[in-house]
C-alpha cells in the first residue's frame, strides 16, 4: 500500500482545484446578488437566497427541452459510433486485406479536417437528404467525426485480445460475426466504455453542426441554447451561469457512471503477456 505523502496530497488537491474551481466559480456567480457581481472583492461563497435563479433558469427557459435534445444527440452519437466502429476495428486488427494500411490511414485523414471546413458541403448534402432540422442529422454528422477515433481505440483493444480465445470459439462452431459479438466485444468492454465517453462528450459539446443544421427552436441542443443567452447588447450573467452549471451536470453524471470502466479501458492493453 502506498504511503501517504503530504506533497502528493497537495499535488492532488491542486489538480482537483484547477479542475473543479471553474465549476465552483460558475455556481457562485450564478448565486451572487446583482449588486455584488462586479464588486471589488469577489464573493467566494454562494448566496443561497439567490437559489430561485435556478428555478427561473429551469422553468423560465427552454433548458429542459435543449437538454433532452442534447442527450438524444450524445447518446445517439455514442451508440452509432460504437456500432459502426466495431467491425472495421476488428478488420484492422485481425484481417489482412489489400489496402488495409491505406484504409487505416484514411480514417486518420478524416480527423485532419476541421468541422468548419466540412460544414458547408455537409449542409448541402443534408439539405438534399432532408436531414436539416433533425436530430438524426446531427447524430450522423457527429458520428462521422467520432467513428474513426473510436475505430482506432477499439483496434488497439482488440489487438490485446489473445487470438487463441477466438480459435477456441471457432472450433466450437462460432461464426466470425458471432466471435466478434459474443467473444471479442465482452472482452474489450472497458475500452468500449472509454470510447463511449469520447463519443458522448463530442456529441454533447458539439456546436458548429448544431448551430448550422438546426434552425428550428424545437430541435435546438443545449450547447447552442446556452450560447443564445450571450447577446449582442446584453448578457444575463446569472442565467448564463445557472444554465451553464446545469448543462455540465448530465455530462458529469454520465462520466461518473462509466468512470470505472474508463479507467480499466485506459489501462487495458498496457501490459502484454
Amino acid at each position: 500500500m502506498a504511503r501517504f505523502h503530504p506533497f502528493h496530497a497537495a499535488a492532488v488537491l491542486a489538480v482537483l482545484g484547477v479542475a473543479v474551481f471553474p465549476l465552483y466559480w460558475m455556481f457562485v456567480t450564478s448565486l451572487t446578488p446583482s449588486d455584488q457581481l462586479f464588486a471589488d472583492r469577489p464573493q467566494l461563497l454562494p448566496s443561497l437566497a439567490q437559489l430561485p435563479t435556478y428555478i427561473e433558469a429551469w422553468s423560465g427557459t427552454s433548458l429542459r427541452h435543449w437538454l433532452f435534445n442534447s442527450i438524444i444527440v450524445a447518446v445517439g452519437t455514442t451508440a452509432l459510433s460504437i456500432v459502426l466502429a466495431i467491425l472495421p476495428a476488428y478488420a484492422l486488427s485481425r484481417m489482412d486485406f489489400r489496402g488495409k494500411l491505406l484504409f487505416g490511414f484514411a480514417l486518420f485523414l478524416t480527423q485532419m479536417l476541421p468541422e468548419a471546413m466540412l460544414v458547408v458541403p455537409l449542409y448541402d448534402i443534408f439539405t438534399k437528404l432532408s436531414l436539416l432540422n433533425t436530430l438524426l442529422g446531427l447524430i450522423l454528422a457527429n458520428a462521422a467525426f467520432t467513428v474513426p477515433v473510436v475505430t482506432w481505440i477499439l483496434k488497439g483493444a482488440i489487438d490485446a485480445v489473445p487470438y487463441e480465445i477466438e480459435e477456441a470459439a471457432r472450433i466450437d462452431g462460432c461464426s466470425r460475426i458471432g466471435i466478434v459479438l459474443a467473444v471479442v466485444v465482452p472482452l474489450i468492454a472497458p475500452t468500449l466504455a472509454a470510447a463511449a465517453v469520447i463519443a458522448f462528450f463530442h456529441g454533447w459539446n458539439e456546436y458548429v453542426f448544431a448551430q448550422t443544421f438546426i434552425s428550428d427552436d424545437q430541435w435546438r441542443t443545449a450547447s447552442v441554447g446556452l450560447a443564445s443567452f450571450i447577446g449582442e447588447l446584453s448578457t444575463p450573467v446569472h442565467t448564463v451561469m445557472a444554465v451553464g452549471f446545469i448543462y455540465t451536470v448530465p455530462a458529469v453524471v454520465f462520466y461518473l457512471f462509466v468512470q470505472r470502466y474508463v479507467v480499466a479501458g485506459m489501462t487495458s492493453g498496457g501490459v502484454k503477456g
Binding site: D40, V119, Y123, L132, N133, I139, W219, A227, S228
Partner: protein, 414 residues
Amino acid sequence: MNMRKLLSGSFATAVAGTMLFAATGASAQSGKTVVTFAASHFAEVGRGDRLKAWVEKFNAANPDIEVKPVTIPFSSFASTIFTQLGGKGGPDLIRFDLPEFYAAAASNSVLPWDGVINDADYKFTSADKYLKINGKRYGVAFDTANYAMIYNAALLPDGKPPKTFDEFLTAAKAATKDGNYGFAYRATMAERGGAWYDVTNFVYGFGGRWSKPDGTPTFNSPEVVAGIAAYKQVYDAGITPKGTDAATYRRMFWEGKIATVVDNGGVATILTSQGKAHPISAAHSPFPHREQGMILAPITINANTKVKDAAAKFLRWMLEPKNQQELQTLLGAVNVATIVERTPEELKAMPWLKAYDEQTPYSVPALPQGLEVKSPEIQQIVVQQLLKVLQGGVAPQVAMDEAQRLVQTRVLGQ
C-alpha cells in the same frame, strides 16, 4: 452493472432513437408557406420576445403564410448564415449588419428587390441611400441606431455630462474610484467588430473618415490619427476596466459602476428595459465634431429562397406605417426603414431618447465609404494597428501609416 447489458441497452437506445428521429423532418406546416426569418434580435432577452409577437401579428393576418423567427446567437450569426448560404440554404429573410450586407450582395447571396416594393410608396429615412448598390436595392433598413454618450449622472461631478473631450477626461478620472470607472470601450481583438465601431466614433468625432467617397483610403489622415491618439489617451488615463468585454461593461454600467459609455440606442433601450437600478441619461458624445457612427441593419431576401413572393408579402406588411410604428416602438431608441415620429409616451418613458434622435443628421455608417465590401479585411488591419498603439507603444501616426500601406497593398492590391 453487467457490461454486456449496458452495451445492449446503449445499442437499443441508439436504434430506437435513430428510428424515432429519422421520421422527423424539417418543418412542413400543412397548407402554409413557411418563410424563415433570421435576426440576432430574436435571441435578445426582452426585445426578442416582443419582436416575435410582432411577427405573429403578420401570421395572424395571413393564414396562408407563416413567418418563422430563426434564433441564432449573435456571436455566431454571420458565420452561421454565410455557411448556410454557401450550402445553398439559409433563412428566407435575413437581417444583416452592414458589413455582411455588402459582402452578401457582392457574392449574389441576396436578391435585388426588383418588383418587391415601389420606392415611391414609402418615405424612407436618409440611411436608405446606403442600401442600393449600383442603383439596385438589396434591402431596406430593419433598424438603424445612432451613437451617443449615455451616463450615470450620480457618478459625474455635478451630475452633468461633459461637453468637450477635455471635460470628459477630467470627469471620467474623477469618477474612477471605489471600484467604479469613468468610461468603457472595447480594446481587444476578441471583440474586433465592436472595437471597430468604438474607434470609428472617436475617428468621426475628431473629424476623420476612413476613406473618401470614391474609395480612396485615408487611414493616416491627420483627423484619423487624432481620433486614434484620443483613443490611446483614454486607454492610458486608467479610466476604463481594461479587458472587459462589452456585455460585461454594459452590465457594469447598469449596475452603476461605470460613469459614461458611448454606445448605440439599442443598448440604451435594453439598459432601460432591464429596470431602473440607476436611471440613465444621454447626451451627444464629447468630441470636437458631432459626427458619430451608425448601426445600419438591413433586412434582405436570401437568393436561395423558394418562397420569394411570400417573403415579399411580409416585407410589404413590415413597411406599412402602423407596423413600422410598432416595430420602432418595440425596438426602442432606433429608427426603422421609414420616417416614424416618436410618440409622447415613448419620449416620456425614455427621456434620453431625444439625445439619440438629435444625433440622426450626424450619423454616418461605420464602414469605409466605397470600400464597404472590403470591410472585414480593413477592420482586421485597423484594429491590429490600434492595438499596437494601445498596448505596444507604437505612435498613432506610425501605426496608421502602416494601416494605410497594408490596406493599399493587401486589400486593394495597389
